[in-house]
Symmetry: C2
């Protein structure tokens, strides 16, 4: 079975409500390669409603972008360093410095959402990622993130 980027996070970094494999209450978002880009898929439970019941609340969309973007930044960095994710040595992990979300149309509930990530640029420990969320093949939200490689 294909392992997600988040499956390689060290146990001490695996508690995120959005994507931690060790958080039983959370979304456990899983991100993967999709050619040169990255992808995650998520079907929100009805509790994550926006103001109007059949749409997703804005905070969830930001959360999906945040977790997929940070995981993608780690994957893009590994690729640039020619390292396998989870290989020996200091773990490669990123934190979000800045996230912008543009809500382009209401995101429907009751269907699988697709979140895509694309590397915009990389400079030292900084990685800029462009993000797009689709439902039924339509763009519902776009985002951009600056993630920074975490160092102890």
């Amino acid at each position: 079975m294909r392992r997600a980027f988040q499956d390689f996070y060290a146990e001490e970094f695996s508690h995120c409500y959005g994507c931690g494999k060790s958080n039983p209450d959370g979304h456990q978002l899983k991100s993967y390669w999709d050619g040169d880009d990255t992808v995650a898929r998520f079907s929100p439970d009805s509790r994550y409603s926006g103001g109007v019941p059949d749409h997703v609340y804005g905070g969830l969309i930001a959360s999906l972008f945040d977790c997929h973007g940070a995981a993608s930044a780690a994957a893009f960095t590994c690729r640039a360093l020619n390292r396998e994710m989870g290989s020996a040595g200091e773990p490669i992990r990123h934190v979000t410095a800045s996230l912008k979300v543009d809500f382009r149309r209401p995101t429907p509930m009751g269907t699988e959402l697709t979140i895509k990530g694309r590397l915009r640029s990389m400079e030292g420990r900084k990685v800029w990622v462009d993000l797009t969320l689709f439902a039924h093949g339509e763009v519902c939200a776009t985002g951009e993130m600056l993630a920074i490689r975490f160092q102890r």
Copy 2:
């Protein structure tokens, strides 16, 4: 007892996971006036952990900004129109068009967070709101939002 901005939302708009009074599973964030600005306070449950257990996950911070910012936009609009929130007539409600979050330091778990909103500008149906999140009196995140007045 003082009513929060969200308490005036029409029932059909009260299901948001972040701030809907009719969502029993959600955060039920409550926003109030604080002089000319607005304020909300929230103590996250430990399940809303970030990757590292004693810090809040980024998506929650975005969610708090999103819900507090949209509620603040409605309140600022009511004030500009010299209307009471919840007064007769078409409900005044805003949706987020764009939200930017800058994560300035890790946000600690186990303490009350304070989210402040300040009107930057208003133009027709558009409202720009500046947001700040504090823990222990320190700024942990700042944000800016464009909210648009919802019309049927």
